[in-house]
């Protein structure tokens, strides 16, 4: 066989597809790159018990082949081989939640009617048994005419059997009589099959019903959610600190080492001032990004995220959105790119567009480096009572500003540009589950790797280009190098525009390369000040102190306010263009966000100056 066979995992949302995918492919999986691809495609290779290597795709969860969201459309097209550029899967593995058969068998029948070689994974049989539900897979197998393999993805149970069934699936055909059923008949049949498969059903002692009584309590629930979010943001700052200090130490040790082994000259300057100062100043934020993603992944894996959406729905409905928008928006706190891609699960197009347009206002992890450096330099490290740090409080205020800004923008958009019927909120609340360490580790690794790759590619390139632009042409004796450089001249032009909002030339300079990614602002400030410092001082003074010496507090606050709004991220613009099929909305997004950033920074600067800060 010339190419390896393609296996597609397909099923309802919350059937445990991703856990099964992780269990089968382990670390040998990839999420396709963001730019240039039309769908987030999770795929990985694994070897069947027969020794045959196959490629497996994890398709987005769907309720049927008649799509009600862009996400479902992908699934529907791929399984029918109608997705451009994507080979038709050779074998379908339908994943069913054992404790929700009545529901999941409806879509399963529809998939079987395609007549493709199919294997069914009766997943999470352990959870069903915990709920007192014992099933007979053979009954289902007879009814459906395809192999039904009981699996517990998280405990790796049934995986070998599943592999064997996949290997043998080529010659099979779907059972007769399934093709011509309508939706209602399918539901009746699903009900009958689910009932027939039950061996025993005892009184349920459902843990999640009890958890829901607490977490969805109309009064206590929202308070718990708010407290959790506050803990997340404090943790991002407090827990990451020792790790950040360690990384900073390693960077300066590396810089010292390079200084000691290389002769003074351009190459040494490029390595220490350019690459280590620039890329290093961004790398040190990896711990914070990992911690933030860890919380988000845990909320998703445990099933709490859907509850959070439920609790937020009322609030979101005030600005014309629904609880469904909460999940993409919360993901946007880590990064707007997965956030914007997660809007595919929103069925209403105007609802979805509004969510995409406000997603960049959520404080993403790329802003953290900027916030952290400025806060660290200008906000004193003291408490304001009850053990709440002033620095953490300022950070919290920045996050809140973004959220309030987003809500106001949504409110305006829903009454003007994305006007339409008030959107609804329909969503399954999955069962609670303990997040599994391995799934968490894979998710964190993928997110961390994307960040590191950015640091290694975009940020590395931009840093080197900036260093060159800062170092050439060489300054005449007595003249500042930055003033003489190409970058300095460019920044002087931009400085005229941003002067009314309190920005100096160095700040203007950092904004140019930060168009690539926000965190580059930090690396470019680090490179700029490193280039301009006298050699002997350089090692002793860190970026924070350099900033403190050259900026006033109102300037620093204005810089923070700018970054609450400014859409400085090429990847976000690219993903918006892709998800909205054109340049209209990304251009709109750029325009409105830069306008807001300019106004917010200006207002902050002048109010702070008037207040005598």
């Amino acid at each position: 066989m010339s190419r390896s066979r393609k296996i597609a995992l397909v099923g309802n949302p919350n059937a445990g597809k991703s856990a099964l995918f992780n269990a089968l492919t382990g670390a040998r999986q990839k999420i396709a790159n963001y730019p240039g691809v039309t769908v987030e495609r999770k795929f990985g290779r694994f070897v069947l018990p027969t020794g045959e290597p196959v490629e497996m795709t994890d398709l987005p969860g769907a309720y049927g082949l008649d799509p009600t969201s862009p996400d479902e459309e992908v699934t529907s097209k791929v399984v029918r081989g109608q997705f451009p550029g994507e080979a038709e899967p050779d074998v379908l593995v339908i994943v069913l939640d054992a404790s929700n058969l009545e529901q999941h068998l409806v879509f399963a029948q529809e998939l079987l009617s395609l007549g493709k070689p199919t294997v069914i994974a009766l997943n999470m049989v352990d959870l069903a048994e915990r709920d007192g539900l014992v099933l007979d897979p053979l009954v289902l197998q007879q009814e459906l005419g395809v192999p039904v393999i009981p699996t517990v993805a998280v405990r790796r149970r049934g995986l070998a059997d599943l592999g064997e069934a996949i290997a043998a699936a080529e010659s099979r055909h779907a059972g007769p009589g399934l093709t011509d059923l309508g939706p209602t008949e399918r539901r009746v049949a699903a009900h009958a099959m689910a009932e027939a498969a039950i061996l025993s059903e005892s009184k349920r002692h459902r843990l999640h019903a009890r958890l829901d009584r607490l977490l969805l309590n109309p009064w206590i629930g929202p308070v718990i959610l708010l407290a959790l979010l506050f803990v997340v943001f404090q943790a991002v700052f407090a827990w990451a600190n020792p790790l950040i200090d360690g990384l900073e130490g390693a960077m300066s040790a590396l810089s010292d080492y390079v200084t000691s082994v290389l002769p003074a000259g351009l190459l040494r300057d490029l390595l220490t001032d350019g690459i280590i100062a620039g890329v290093g100043s961004v790398l040190v934020f990896l711990p914070q990004i990992v911690i933030l993603f860890a919380f988000i992944l845990a909320m998703e894996a445990s099933g709490y995220m859907a509850r959070a959406a439920f609790l937020m729905d009322r609030l979101m409905s005030y600005v014309g959105l629904s609880g469904r928008s909460f999940i993409p928006l919360l993901s946007s706190f880590a990064c707007a790119i997965p956030g914007i891609m997660a809007t595919r699960s929103i069925s209403d197009p105007k609802d979805r567009l509004t969510t995409i347009l406000i997603a960049p206002l959520m404080t993403c992890s790329a802003r953290l480096p900027v916030y952290a450096v400025i806060i660290g330099a200008f906000i004193p490290e003291r408490t304001v009572g009850w053990g709440i740090g002033l620095q953490g409080l300022v950070l919290f205020a920045l996050y809140i500003s973004g959220i309030i800004g987003a809500f106001l923008v949504a409110l305006v958009l829903r009454r003007s540009i994305t006007q339409g019927e008030a959107s609804g909120f329909i969503m399954e609340l999955p069962k609670y589950q303990l997040p599994r360490l391995k799934d968490m580790a894979i998710g964190l690794w993928q997110r961390g790797w994307i960040f590191l790759r950015r640091a290694g590619t975009i940020i590395f390139t931009v840093t080197v280009v900036l260093w060159v632009m800062l170092n050439f042409p060489k300054a005449a004796p007595g003249e500042s190098q930055v003033d003489a450089s190409i970058a300095g001249h460019l920044a002087n032009g931009l400085a005229v525009v941003v002067e009314p909002i309190g920005f100096n030339r160095d700040m203007a300079l950092s904004l140019i390369p930060a168009m690539a990614a926000r965190e580059v602002a930090v690396s470019s400030l680090a490179t700029t000040y490193a280039v301009d410092e006298e050699d002997e001082e350089r090692q002793a003074v860190d970026l924070g102190n350099r900033l403190k010496n050259s900026w006033t507090l109102p300037m620093a606050l204005a810089f923070l306010a700018w970054f609450v709004f400014a859409p400085q991220c090429m990847s976000t613009i690219a993903v918006t263009r892709r998800e909205t099929n054109g340049w209209k909305w990304p251009v709109f997004m750029l325009t409105y966000l830069f306008t807001l950033a300019y106004l917010a920074a200006g207002a902050t600067f002048w109010v702070a100056t008037a207040a005598g800060l």
């Binding site: 529901q103 439920f310 609880g323 209403d348 609804g424 329909i426």
Partner: protein
């Protein structure tokens, strides 16, 4: 009685749904989740901070969140208490 007025914890059967008042996309999604004529449902949770929206409906072994407007389109009849 419509589904949005069902007392918390009581089990009922959906006897009729006025699909015409629902957005077609949402109607399809509700059907896909099994919320249609004949389904046995109960109201598990209602609202936040004393509000009446959204609702969490138990249907089979699944919990579905929806808005009051959707539930109001569904007429239900109470079932006698057997098991929740």
């Amino acid at each position: 009685m419509t589904l949005d007025l069902l007392p918390l914890g009581k089990t009922a059967r959906i006897v009729a749904v006025d699909w015409s008042v629902l957005v077609p996309e949402e109607a399809r999604r509700l059907r896909a989740l099994g919320l249609e004529e004949g389904a046995k449902v109960s109201l598990a949770h209602r609202g936040v901070f004393g509000g009446k929206d959204p609702l969490a409906i138990a249907v089979g072994r699944m919990i579905v969140a929806l808005r009051r407007a959707h539930a109001a389109a569904m007429s239900v009849e109470l079932l006698s208490e057997v098991s929740a």
